[in-house]
């Protein structure tokens, strides 16, 4: 049985599933009722079983079998389970603590903090058994999955597809949308700087030493979006969907080098001058790229101001039914941040946030409008 045939091939493309998944992510995370269904152990077990069923039944498909049985991809399968489990665990503990707080109880961690156990046997014995089991696991792994002996590597002829180590596949995916200097240097740099900056930006005293969702919803949402969607999901895409010639293949579709995809990408300048104003591209690159520059500058300069635009929130609250209130709370939140954090910290937070949004925006515009670059100056190898 080829279970992948149940999903149409077009649905496997990031341009199709990325936005819905992102949207669903926020809906679930910001909806207390949905999240309580999700952290139910029965749902978790069902999800784990369903995933396993997909893997097991998927082996009927030779391409999928080849992908998952490849030695390099075993960690990724383990990753699917472990990330799912730990995310679920954290969310579950957070919701339990939130419920306890509603009932006026202290968080679980505080309640359990008074219990004591012995180092021997409760810790060391367990560790020792783990050690043995891990040893067994590694040995079985090394016996069953032998190191592949391939033909000599050559610098002139790389494998197709040439993939980075699994943990970098998310970054490699970004290379599709950005120049190497952005995808490979600037964005990872910003991620690291941003992670370093968290303690200095975050002045929320809650959630220290215990799990909580409600008290730190924005922080958790941002982190989990950055990690699960923009890192782990892209690893999944890179592993399972990116085939020869870095084309997207539906799960189960045969990986053939002959697949041809339409890639008619156009720069922002061309949209502006050629399609919009119906005139040739200006020969001066400054003039040519001015619209793109203005857009980017506007995004990062006006963006932080726009985020805390309370009047806009009020307007939405008044005239937009259903989700108006939620949207408005977004503007109120940023306004509150501006008040609480002060200019410098607010700016850093906003820029970090906008960078993430920009990354997603760039991907979406690529999928939706075949937009190649907002700013493209091949004269300087400068492309955004």
């Amino acid at each position: 049985m080829d279970i992948f045939k149940l999903v149409p091939e077009w649905a496997w493309q990031p341009k199709v599933f990325f936005l819905p998944i992102s949207f669903a992510f926020f809906v679930v995370l910001y909806n207390d009722r949905l999240i309580r269904i999700l952290v139910n152990p029965i749902v978790a077990w069902a999800a784990a079983l369903a995933t396993t069923a997909v893997f097991v039944l998927g082996t009927a498909n030779p391409t999928f079998k080849a992908i998952i049985s490849k030695g390099d991809n075993i960690p990724i399968i383990m990753m699917v389970y472990s990330f799912g489990y730990f995310t679920w665990l954290a969310l579950r503990k957070g919701t339990i603590n939130d419920d306890r707080a509603d009932r006026g109880l202290p968080p679980l961690e505080e309640a359990e903090g008074h219990q004591k156990v012995m180092v021997w046997p409760d810790l060391v014995y367990v560790e020792f058994i783990c050690l043995i089991l891990v040893t067994v696991g590694l040995m079985v792994w090394s016996i069953v999955l032998k190191a592949p002996l391939e033909q000599p590597a050559t610098r002139v002829e790389t494998p197709n597809p040439s993939k980075a180590p699994w943990y970098f596949l998310g970054l490699q995916e970004l290379l599709v949308y950005f120049d190497p200097w952005i995808a490979g240097v600037v964005l990872p740099g910003i991620i690291i700087v941003g992670l370093i900056a968290i303690p200095y930006i975050d002045n929320n005293p809650k959630g220290s030493g215990y799990y909580t969702l409600r008290d730190r919803r924005f922080a958790i949402a941002m982190f989990l979006y950055g990690f699960l969607i923009m890192w782990v999901l892209l690893i999944f895409v890179g592993t399972f969907l990116r085939g020869p010639n870095w084309n997207i293949f539906a799960l189960g579709e045969e990986w053939t080098v002959h697949k041809v995809e339409v890639l008619n990408n156009v720069n922002f300048a061309e949209y502006f001058w050629v399609l919009g104003l119906n005139q040739p591209l200006p020969s001066n690159w400054i003039v040519r790229e001015l619209p793109g520059f203005l857009f980017c500058a506007g995004f990062f300069v006006i963006g932080p101001v726009f985020l805390m635009c309370e009047p806009l929130g009020k307007l939405l609250e008044t005239y937009l039914p259903l989700i108006g209130k939620t949207c408005a709370s977004f503007f109120y939140f940023w306004k509150r941040m501006w008040v609480e954090l002060g200019f410098v910290r607010y700016s850093i937070l906003a820029i970090l946030f906008l960078t993430m949004v920009f990354t997603v925006l760039k991907m979406i515009t690529r999928w939706a409008f075949n937009l190649k670059y907002f700013v493209s100056i091949p004269e300087f190898f400068f492309n955004i």
Binding site: P121, T135, V140, I143, Q151, V257
Partner: protein, 1238 residues
């Protein structure tokens, strides 16, 4: 706690099992299984008898070795003892010598000197003598003293001298004994190490060997198989867990540093682990085992892997030829490739090969080469396959590739300056008629003249019915294109006003023309239906009722070079049809072509036969009768105006706007349009790759470059939609079978599967064209061998060998010396098809004589079965038709050798090996034609009037002469029918040929000399130790160096020229004296005759006369009263101004030319027994030892020498006198019909 305990228990058990599993995995690695099995096989082989019964073989060998050891050690001891003895003797002798005699002598000498001084002092002062000479009294005493001491010295000196000699002898003896001691010690240690090795090897496979010596020093052995300590050791060494310490079962690895794998910017020496499983590959004795234990093919004949072979295992490894992942030790990962569907099925069953192939190997760069194509690897080092005839498939592929002009379109290394294989088209309008040309381009294979021209139209992608969207009629487009090409070629060739051919109105005699065709050698290169019919008619076996065709088919099997039609030049059947329609113009071209081929086409290989005008006319007239009616009846392809417009406008639109193209088209007349399209098409289809087309002489061919094709990745090849295996062999095989099929979409069909070389071509049902645009379609034409699987595979082998790798210079076949000379000569031989006329090698058999010895005999074929007495004959038997006469052992010399069918006779069983010879295509025709002349009579006699075999050319003629003869041939034998034509040979080509024959001669001399020396090895008269030692080196597995051989031959001649047999001596002398390129003929030295007796030449020359005369010039009469006859050379040979006296048909070479033509050593062999040198010759053995004693005293050999010396003395021959009167009246000579004196 309890739970934890349980958990701990379970995990511990798991860990234990995992450990065991791990060790099992390691212990059961596939290659270990092979090694264990091989140990068993080896043990069985080596110890089979040992294990079953008394341990004969190994024990004997061990005993032998141990005896050798003890003998050697005994020898060492003995030598040591004798050294001690001699040293003792020496010291006694020297004490005596120095202390007594020598000292005494010295003292005495001093006394003598003093006495002499004293006496001479007296003499000086005049105190010694009286006037009468008596001594003065004062001097008497002094004189006495002097005399006394003189006598003393004289007395003592000899004693001292003899003692000195004694001492020197003793010292020499000592030196010798010491060197013997060293040799003995070396022998001792060699034997000992052999013994140790054998014992160690036995113990490595679990057999204990113990050495026990008894009191006398005799050695006995005990062996034990089973649980001896050695077996335990073997088991322990290879036991799981401990087998990392010093296992005997381990990965075997060969590192060849000079042969490298190219890891891109890093050359890494090859690491081959193939011998891990292929354990018997370089050991003899495993030829019949199964893979992987088997010995490598040709290991025994020292071609591969053995240490005497040119490819020893240690220096070559495996993967340099077989490729694959040589460092892997798993069957599938090594990338074995099956050679047939059967093998694939077997591997799938045993190793799951196919699943693994799909997962691992698909599109890998260099999997192992399927056996069918392994020879392609030879090309890496041997860049010229001509140098390695052993690689038959590769060589055939190379020849085919060359013959069909593949390099015309595909740039190929080694073919940079290759000549175009097709005829020049520059002056085509003077030769061909237009209709014929169109039909020929459309479908050359329907013509009788067809040889190599490929089909370019009406192929898979250019025939009606092939496409889904037939809005155009492809056939009409083809016809239009052909019309355009024809128009362009005609236009182009009539553009040159400087070239013209005169029409010929004179008409020759076609009947005589046919006779000339048969007897002038045309059929060495061309075939002709009438000539074939003539030969077949003459091949009828007189006493059998078989048809000529059948006889010929059988003969062809036996003598492939001789009885096949020549396909070198174009066929002469149907010539008339292709020439210009006007008879006079056609005849004019023929006459022009035959009399000077290089006039029409300067690069033509056709030689000038130096025919007379009449002969040329006759042959032309015969050719004028050769019509190809079937081809003439075919309709002429008709072009179409609309198609022309479409085709031309399409082409023009590539460079201009469509409306301009149409405008341009409209502005031209019909011919201009055709010519323009024709020029575009000649370039498009690459016609100039094979033909000279004006303006495109040096244009690059249209095909893909092949320099590195063999290393091309499979994914770089367009397999189209065809169900082929994804490797280069399958692709190319299919490409050569159906070059245009890759353009097609496919309905279905089954591939050649993944059989890798076996099952032929893919059978595909095509649906339609993939490429709409006519210009974009594939262009490679289809060659006549498209259905010949073997030939295609050979071409694939050659092309797949073009890997463009650079090999370390130590491994490159540099083609130096004789090897290179032979290869370069071979190219020239092939270029001018020398073997069309000459037999380059004679057929030969290895014959076992009654005494058990072997002899190689070579001979010339007969036109019919020889032995008519045999009743039951096996007509397919190679031995049936072969020999007229042969050389070999004395007893059989000059006799015909009836070889009869297998099993019927003991004679047949004496044939050990048959080799068919090479070349001589023209000879059967010539013989059949000449046999119709009653004076010649039989075809076998006709051999004497045909081209000479060249199997000994280098030993026969002088280099300088050969060179000038090749450049400007003349008639040597006036009676011969076929004359050596004048070839357009360049100086380099002529030199190459001379060098070729010299190299061949040297090789055959080396073989002869080696055989002679091996036969002489045991001769008792060879006493020289040094010489004996050298003789030992000859005749082993490794051939001796020519320089060593030469030294030995010189030594043998010096040591015992008189003891050698005449043949042996001559062979050795020939070898010693052979030189190239600067030969010295010592007979031509000015002082050569200085040591000869007076009148030597005059006397000798009298031998050659018809009637013998005495010194006074009077005839000598025999006891019967008749005048005694001499050699009577003049009967057949012209000598200087004197013409041959006998029948013209007998007339043999002019003797004046011998001096500059023939090698003197050959002349000796020849004179003494001509049929022995050249089977079937008319020259009889003339020298009878005792017949001429009263003229020249001496042996037969001395007589021959004398005649040779006369022949090398030109002055004498030039002044040769006409004999006064013939002894007997002669029959009036007459010439052969149709044999003008050319």
């Amino acid at each position: 706690m309890n739970t934890l305990n349980k958990l701990f228990f379970i995990s511990s058990v798991l860990l234990t099992f995992t450990f065991l599993w791990m060790f099992y995995q390691d212990y059961e690695r596939p290659w270990k299984k092979y090694q264990r099995t091989f140990v068993k096989i080896e043990k069985e082989k080596a110890l089979g008898p040992l294990l079953k019964g008394p341990p004969e073989d190994v024990l004997n060998r061990l005993n032998e070795l141990s005896q050798e050891v003890s003998a050697a050690s005994g020898a060492v001891e003995e030598q040591k003892n004798s050294i001690a003895t001699i040293e003792g003797e020496l010291s006694t002798a020297s004490r005596e010598l120095y202390q007594k005699n020598n000292l005494d002598l010295q003292f005495t000498t001093v006394e003598y000197d003093v006495a002499r001084y004293e006496f001479e002092n007296l003499v000086h002062h005049g105190h010694a003598y009286k006037e009468n000479g008596d001594l003065l009294p004062a001097a008497v005493k002094a004189k006495e003293r002097l005399d006394h001491f003189a006598a003393e010295v004289a007395k003592k000196t000899p004693k001292v001298r003899s003692l000195e000699a004694q001492k020197a002898a003793a010292e020499k003896q000592l030196r010798e004994i010491r060197s013997n001691l060293v040799a003995a010690e070396r022998e001792f240690s060699a034997a000992q190490s052999d013994q140790t090795k054998l014992i160690r090897k036995l113990s490595s496979i679990g057999v204990a060997v113990k050495e026990v010596k008894d009191v006398k020093g005799d050695v006995t052995f005990k062996y034990k198989e089973g649980l001896g300590i050695e077996t335990l050791q073997y088991l322990f060494q290879n036991a799981p867990l401990v087998d990392f310490i010093g296992p005997t079962i381990k990965v075997h690895q060969e590192v060849v540093n000079k042969l490298t794998d190219d890891y891109f910017f890093a050359q890494v020496g090859k690491v081959d682990r193939c011998t891990t499983c292929h354990l018997g590959i370089s050991k003899s004795g495993f030829e019949d085992e199964e893979h992987p234990y088997r010995t490598h093919p040709h290991f025994g004949d020292n071609l591969y892997l053995s240490s005497f072979s040119p490819h020893p295992q240690k220096e070559f490894g495996c993967s340099v030829c077989h490729e694959g992942m040589a460092w892997a030790t798993d069957f599938n990962r090594v990338m074995h490739m099956p050679n047939s569907p059967q093998q694939k099925a077997e591997w799938n069953h045993n190793y799951g090969w196919e699943a693994s192939y799909k997962k691992l190997h698909h599109y890998w760069d260099f999997p192992m080469i399927p056996l069918d194509y392994t020879e392609s690897s030879c090309l890496q080092c041997h860049t010229d396959p001509t140098a390695i005839p052993e690689a038959k498939k590769l060589y055939e592929g190379y020849v085919t590739f060359k013959e069909y002009g593949c390099a015309g379109c595909h740039k190929t290394p080694g073919f940079e300056n290759a000549r175009k294989v097709g005829p020049s088209l520059k002056n085509i309008s003077h030769k061909l008629n237009e209709d014929w040309l169109k039909k020929w381009i459309l479908d050359p294979w329907k013509s009788a003249s067809h040889r190599r021209m490929p089909q370019a139209f009406n192929l898979t992608n250019s025939a009606n019915g092939m496409t889904d969207h037939e809005e155009t009629n492809i056939a009409v487009e083809n016809y239009t294109e052909i019309q355009a090409i024809t128009a362009y070629l005609q236009h182009d060739s009539s553009a040159d006003n400087s070239f013209s051919i005169k029409p010929e109105t004179q008409v020759g005699d076609a009947g005589n023309g046919k006779n000339l065709l048969l007897t002038k050698g045309c059929l060495g290169c061309h075939e002709n239906n009438e000539a074939e019919a003539f030969l077949n008619a003459n091949l009828e076996d007189p006493d059998e009722e078989t048809e000529g065709e059948e006889v010929r088919a059988r003969l062809k099997k036996v003598l492939p070079g001789l009885f096949e039609k020549s396909e070198f030049g174009p066929s002469l059947s149907g010539v008339r049809t292709k020439l210009r329609k006007d008879d006079a113009e056609a005849r004019g071209w023929l006459v022009d072509w035959i009399s000077n081929p290089q006039h029409y086409s300067p690069k033509a290989r056709m030689p000038s036969l130096r025919l007379s005008e009449k002969e040329t006319l006759d042959i032309s007239e015969f050719l004028m009768t050769q019509k190809d009616e079937a081809f003439a009846a075919l309709p002429v392809p008709a072009s179409d105006g609309a198609a022309l417009k479409k085709l031309l406008v399409d082409r023009l639109s590539e460079k201009m706007l469509s409306k301009d193209a149409v405008e341009k088209y409209d502005g031209m007349n019909q011919n201009e349009r055709e010519v323009m399209l024709g020029r575009i098409l000649v370039k498009h289809y690459g016609c100039y790759g094979c033909h000279d087309v004006r303006g495109l002489e040096t244009a690059q061919g249209i095909g893909a470059e092949l320099t590195t094709w063999g290393a091309k990745k499979a994914d770089k090849l367009d397999f189209g939609l065809l169900p082929l295996d994804h490797d280069r062999y399958s692709w190319l095989k299919q490409k050569l079978h159906d070059p245009r099929g890759f353009d097609m979409t496919v309905m279905g069909g089954h591939g050649n599967g993944d059989d890798h070389g076996d099952g032929g071509f893919a059978h595909i049902e095509y649906k339609g064209l993939r490429r709409v645009n006519r210009k974009g379609r594939l262009r490679m034409p289809r060659f006549p061998f498209y259905n010949d699987l073997d030939k295609i595979k050979s071409v694939v082998t050659f092309v797949a060998g073009l890997k463009g790798r650079s090999v370390h210079s130590d491994y490159r076949d540099k083609l130096e010396g004789d090897r290179g000379a032979i290869v370069r000569g071979e190219h020239v031989l092939r270029k001018y098809n020398c073997e069309g006329c000459h037999q380059l090698e004679l057929p030969s058999v290895v014959w076992q004589f009654d005494d058990g010895s072997f002899g190689k005999v070579h001979g010339r074929f007969l036109m019919r079965r020889y032995d008519e007495e045999v009743e039951e004959v096996n007509e397919d038997d190679p031995a049936m038709y072969v020999f007229q006469s042969f050389s070999g052992k004395d007893g059989l010399m000059g006799r015909s050798l009836p070889l009869i069918s297998a099993g019927e006779s003991e004679d047949y069983q004496q044939v050990r090996q048959f080799k068919p010879g090479r070349g001589g295509t023209v000879i059967p025709y010539l013989n059949a034609a000449l046999a119709t002349n009653p004076q010649i009579g039989t075809p076998d006699n006709a051999l004497n009037y045909g081209p000479p075999p060249l199997h000994e050319e280098g030993r026969k003629v002088q280099n300088k002469w050969l060179f000038s003869f090749l450049k400007k041939p003349y008639i040597i034998r006036p009676a011969v029918s076929i004359v050596m034509p004048t070839f357009p040979l360049s100086d380099d080509e002529a030199t190459s040929l001379v060098a070729y024959f010299a190299a061949k001669a040297r090789l055959s001399l080396i073989t002869d000399t080696t055989e002679t020396i091996v036969a002489l090895k045991e001769s008792e008269w060879i006493t020289d130790e040094h010489l004996k030692k050298n003789l030992g080196k000859v005749g082993g597995a490794k051939p001796a160096e020519p320089s060593v051989l030469k030294d030995i031959a010189r030594g043998l001649l010096a040591a015992g020229a008189d003891k050698l047999s005449r043949e042996d001596r001559w062979k050795l002398e020939e070898f010693v004296e052979f030189q190239y390129p600067f030969e010295r003929i010592k007979e031509l030295d000015p002082d050569y005759l200085a040591s000869k007796p007076k009148n030597y030449l005059a006397t000798a020359s009298r031998l050659m006369a018809g009637d013998l005369t005495d010194d006074a010039g009077k005839p000598i009469f025999g006891p019967d009263g008749q005048p005694r006859k001499g050699l009577d050379c003049i009967k057949c040979h012209a000598i200087g101004p004197v013409p041959p006296a006998g029948d013209v048909l007998a007339s043999a070479p002019q003797l004046v030319n011998v001096r500059e033509r023939i090698q003197p050593r050959y002349l000796l062999r020849w004179l003494i027994n001509p049929p022995n040198v050249l089977p079937g010759t008319k020259m009889p053995p003339l020298f009878e030892a005792d017949k001429y004693q009263h003229i020249l005293k001496g042996s037969q050999e001395q007589h021959v020498e004398a005649v040779k010396d006369v022949l090398f003395n030109n002055d004498l021959l030039r002044k040769w006198k006409v004999p006064a009167a013939p002894a007997q009246p002669k029959a009036a000579g007459s010439r052969v019909k149709g044999q003008p004196s050319s």
